[in-house]
Amino acid sequence: MLEIKGLKVKLEDEDKQILKGLDLTVETGKVHAIMGPNGSGKSTLSYVLSGKDGYEVTDGSALLEGDDLLDMDPEERAALGLFLAFQYPVEIPGVGNMTFLRTAVNAQRKARGQEELSAGDFLKEVRAKAKDLKIDADMLKRPVNVGFSGGEKKRNEILQMAMLTPKMCILDETDSGLDVDAMKLVAEGVNALRSEGRSFLVITHYQRLLDHIKPDVVHIMADGKIVKTGGPELALEVENNGYADILAEVS
């Protein structure tokens, strides 16, 4: 599904290298987790893959089902099936959540040559999916993320994911700012979307999210590279011993 080779990325405005030759392959239908200390480049990876400005790719490639992501605009990547759940979902005053969702869903359908969803079909679908995530009608009516609690914002991200049905989902510290109940709710939303044709890349600091979203593979990232790859037990090792031991071991 996602194949990253030798990816090197620096900040556009500064001479600062962040990703230093990152290799990562996420197979179709699998859930991969990336863990790593602060400043290892995890969020940068998610932004570079989704096409945020401000980064310069100096080497390497990133392919989504064989298509080169790095040359595309963010909206093209999204239409191809890439989705990033933001660590800090953006508030957009003046744009209704419903309008936003429908515009996004129909823009992607249009880009893929599909017919736009009718207002009725869209409404039916969004209501059903919102209900599963305990998102009420009021939250759908309000401007995007404005006045939402931390938990509501993250649930809103998962609702977008559910509506857009991407192939490759990147979750950037989706557990940050969530209490235990909210994390469970979000994890359930993610688990409901797990399927043979859909892959996940779950970026997190902590093992606890991975108790709820069970990964197939766990990677440890440090200083702009993947330094160790293993099964779910690797996450437990981090939880018990911290990153220091692993980093000492690989250096």
């Binding site: 999204a78 953006v90 823009a107």
Partner: protein, 428 residues
């Protein structure tokens, strides 16, 4: 003090050869008085402080600069609204295109008819609020209007007016120079909605005097049409009585020159006065000026000014807004916000927000900002698959939402929002 010779010469040049319209004795007196006042103050020039950001020369020139006609190729605004329709073509009332001047809760007639009558309530209003509005700042173009206006509509709302009055100002001649004056008198407990649309003329001056009795309500939604080369100056003078409501919203699209002055006098306790607007302009020859002066002279008054300007390719937006709270106007709640969205580096926004407060128990706030599209929000939308131009337009519309929310009727707000969306789609 005598005015400078240059100013005096320019004023006399403008007035050379004009004859005052005919009418009853009181009407002639009002016009003659305006002419005297105008000669004393002189027409504005760009050296005047109040015209620092807007050059009035096109508005004061002896003849109207030519303005090409613009065929918008779209359905007229408010076409689906049940309304009393009044049409002016280049500033002249078109009886054939207009509905009969009658309606429930309303007395309505042509200005020239009212001013020909020896006894008419218009006498108490014509030029009266305009004259009050000349201090502390002179507004000579309004005085010129009072002196020379030949046509217009006078409306007396005696009850809840069942449907809005819509005045459509059509532009048919490339050199037309129209001066219109409208009066609205709202009785106690009466309520009326006035809609105005269209470019009006190559050069269009309109003056609206609104007198709202205690517990009356006046709603005003206006659009200034799409002709690129038109010049427009408007004045609205309102006297707002106790527990009454004044709400005015203006949407401006295109136009070489637009100066909208709104002068509100809150004279009764517990009154509400809101004035708001959006404008969208593309290109160096777009200049749009909102000049507002709100005086609180009563207890517990609420006023709001909400202006949003979207500017690109060298377009210029101006805002001069003032809240004056007199010593006895305790518990005043005044709010003023003026914001521009500059879609590129050539566009400019010039703002002069002012507060002058003599009462000691008031809440007044004002803010003014200039900014670009929020890049973080733009990326968020694009990451969800929304194409760049659609995302930009969505954010631009959201920028204008606070002003559009000032329109009481959601259907009217939605209609204007659709037009703005169309404009953005054509200009992105």
């Amino acid at each position: 003090m005598a005015i400078a010779k240059l100013k005096s010469d320019a004023t006399e040049a403008r007035l050379a050869g004009v004859t005052l319209p005919e009418g009853a004795a009181w009407a002639q007196a009002a016009r003659a008085d305006a002419l005297t006042r105008l000669r004393a103050m002189g027409l504005p020039s760009k050296r005047d402080e109040y015209w620092k950001y807007t050059d009035p020369s096109d508005l004061t020139a002896v003849t109207a600069p030519k303005a090409a006609l613009f065929d918008a190729q779209e359905a007229p605004l408010f076409g689906d609204t049940d309304r009393l329709e009044i049409v002016f073509v280049d500033g002249v009332f078109d009886a054939d295109a207009s509905d009969a001047l009658a309606g429930e809760g309303i007395e309505i007639m042509r200005l020239s008819d009212a001013m020909a009558a020896d006894i008419h309530w218009a006498k108490e209003l014509y030029g009266v609020l305009e004259t009050r509005g000349q201090t502390p700042v002179e507004r000579p173009l309004a005085v010129l209007n009072t002196a020379l206006a030949t046509d217009g509509i006078v409306i007396h709302a005696t009850g809840k007016v069942s449907k809005p009055v819509h005045i459509s100002y059509l532009h048919a001649d490339e050199t037309s120079d129209a001066i219109l004056h409208n009066l609205v008198k709202v009785d106690a407990g009466a309520e009326i909605t006035l809609l105005e649309t269209g470019p009006g003329a190559a050069r269009f001056s309109s003056c609206l005097e609104v007198d709202i009795a205690d517990t009356g309500a006046f709603h005003h939604v206006r659009t200034q049409g799409r002709d690129h080369e038109r010049r427009t100056v408007t004045h609205c003078f309102a006297r707002v009585g106790a527990e009454s409501t004044f709400k005015s919203f203006t949407m401006t699209v295109n136009g070489v020159m637009t100066r909208n002055e709104c002068v509100l006098d809150i004279i009764g306790d517990d009154a509400i006065a809101h004035v708001a607007g959006v404008c969208v302009g593309d290109g160096k020859d777009f200049h749009h000026d909102d000049t507002v002066f709100i005086t609180h002279d009563a207890l517990n008054g609420e006023s709001r000014q909400v202006f949003k300007k979207v500017l690109r390719n060298g377009a210029t937006g101006v805002f001069q807004g003032k809240i004056l709270v007199k010593a006895d106007a305790q518990k005043t709640d005044g709010y003023q916000i003026s914001q521009s969205l500059l879609l590129d580096e050539d566009a400019q926004f010039l703002a002069k927000p002012e507060l002058e407060i003599y009462a000691d128990d008031v809440a007044c706030s004002h803010g003014s900002t200039s900014g670009a599209i929020d890049e973080t929000a733009l990326f968020y939308l694009r990451s969800r698959g929304v194409p760049m131009n659609v995302a930009r337009n969505l954010l631009t519309l959201s920028f204008m939402a606070e002003a559009l929310d000032e329109i009481a009727d959601p259907a009217l707000a939605e209609e204007l929002r659709d037009r703005l969306e169309g404009w953005l789609a054509r200009h992105s």
